[in-house]
């Protein structure tokens, strides 16, 4: 039941992303708050609802963004997939896992966006995308990943209390 916090929380994340985070630009890139929250959530060992959260995020972001649904869905679900693989392997250093997921997730989503938009006819230059969007976005994502991870860890403790988990 406590998992229903996902609806207001992810809704708020998408609103914040659209209204505020997208205004905090570094060159032409900005952080991806839903991505950060999903990655941090999927890395919590107690969490069993990461895929549900990802689907919900895909619906919300796909509704707001003009990005093709394929990119949004494949991007966020791919991040959950990466997070769950890494969580099993790098479980002793959660922040390292978080950084790794953010690095791979950002690159994956941006490359996917670039490829799909190019196929659909948008004239992008690869060097521009990497230099002006991807690397600045990556830096901002890395920067925000620490507080977001702490927040989601506390939330995971609240949603999945220890006695219930055991």
């Amino acid at each position: 039941m406590r998992n229903s916090i996902a609806f207001p929380l992810l809704g708020l994340a998408v609103i914040l992303q659209s209204a505020i985070v997208s205004q905090v630009k570094l060159i032409s890139g900005y952080a991806d708050l839903p991505l950060l929250m999903l990655a941090a959530w999927a890395l919590q060992d107690r969490v069993k609802s990461a895929w549900h959260w990802a689907v919900l995020t895909c619906v919300m972001v796909g509704f707001v963004s003009s990005m093709p649904w394929l990119v949004v869905a494949a991007g966020y679900l791919g991040v959950i997939f990466m997070a769950q693989i890494l969580q099993r392997r790098v479980w002793q250093a959660p922040l390292l896992a978080m950084f790794s997921v953010i690095l791979m997730g950002t690159l994956f989503i941006h490359l996917l966006s670039f490829a799909v938009l190019r196929v659909l006819g948008t004239p992008f230059a690869f060097a521009d995308v990497i230099g002006l969007i991807t690397l600045p976005s990556l830096l901002l994502n890395m920067l925000f990943s620490i507080p977001v991870y702490a927040l989601m860890r506390d939330l995971a403790h609240w949603v999945y209390p220890l006695e219930e988990y055991e």
Partner: protein, 278 residues
């Protein structure tokens, strides 16, 4: 007269004499010293009394002062919030006044004002979200402007909101003409949000500062909406067309309120476009 009465009389006479002499100014220096001693003594007692009075009454005053201070701080916070609200209102009023001037000077179009409430979550795309939708008769393809010039066009609509593709979006292309050079061209957006001008014929002379307006070709936008001015021209002999960079008329980083031209219906020319030969 007994001896007791005589003694009292003598004392009175002596004291009266001394007083008379003192009042007569015969004891000037002595009376000044005496007076100063009296004043010093009184000052000492008075200051000690006031100190004691402060000591006993001060706690009550501090409590009342603290209460008053808290009240005043709350009032200051309230007034600061009011100032911010009023500044915001003034800013909005200034923008709206400019937009009203613009709509009055262009009476051929009908406008609907909308506030910008968000941006596309993806950094690859340059879209804004406005707070007007199909409930306000907003339709897909309607042009969006400010008093400065063209902003973009409505890309998707829901009941109470719409998504607008900016002319800075990498997928955006607008048919334009250069007013001074009297030639047609096309503007393209980019990932950085800059607008470039392309498809300018090689035998046309374009100068920095030339005004760029929508041409209306293709039916996507109404004609004569300002887009910007030419900044630099790039002419390469081996290329078919000249290119130029543009200083946009609209400040896309500070979009707050926009106008939607509601009486313009874009023309879909897709059926008229030639099919690629097999």
């Amino acid at each position: 007269m007994n001896s007791r009465s005589l003694q009292t009389t003598i004392i009175f006479l002596v004291v009266g004499g001394i007083l008379a002499l003192a009042l007569g100014g015969f004891f000037g220096s002595a009376s000044r010293q005496f007076g100063s001693v009296l004043i010093d003594t009184q000052t000492w007692f008075s200051s000690r009394f006031l100190g004691l009075q402060d000591f006993f009454t001060a706690p009550r005053d501090i409590v009342s002062l603290r209460t008053r201070n808290a009240e005043l701080e709350a009032q200051v916070s309230q007034l600061q919030a009011q100032v911010i609200e009023l500044q915001q209102t003034v800013n909005e009023t200034e923008i709206l006044a400019a937009l009203v001037d613009f709509s009055r000077s262009n009476p051929e179009s009908t406008y609907k004002a909308a506030a910008v409430i968000g941006f596309d979550p993806s950094p690859f795309l340059h879209y804004i979200i406005i707070n007007r939708g199909s409930n306000d008769d907003i339709r897909r393809g309607m042009p969006v402007v400010t008093n400065q010039g063209l902003v973009g066009r409505v890309d998707a609509v829901i009941a109470d909101a719409a998504r607008v593709q900016l002319i800075t979006d990498p997928a955006s292309a607008v048919n334009v003409y250069l007013k001074n050079a009297e030639t047609s061209a096309v503007t393209f957006g980019s990932v950085t949000g800059d607008i470039s001008l392309d498809m300018i014929s090689q035998n046309i002379t374009v100068e920095s500062g030339d005004l760029i307006l929508t041409s209306g070709l293709g039916g996507g936008y109404p004609s004569d909406l300002p887009i910007g001015q030419v900044v630099t021209i790039r002419t390469l002999e081996f290329k078919l067309f000249q290119q130029a960079t543009i200083q946009p008329a609209v400040d896309f980083s500070r979009l707050e309120i926009v106008l939607i031209i509601t009486n313009f219906r874009p023309v879909d020319i897709t059926p008229l476009e030639p099919l690629p030969s097999p």
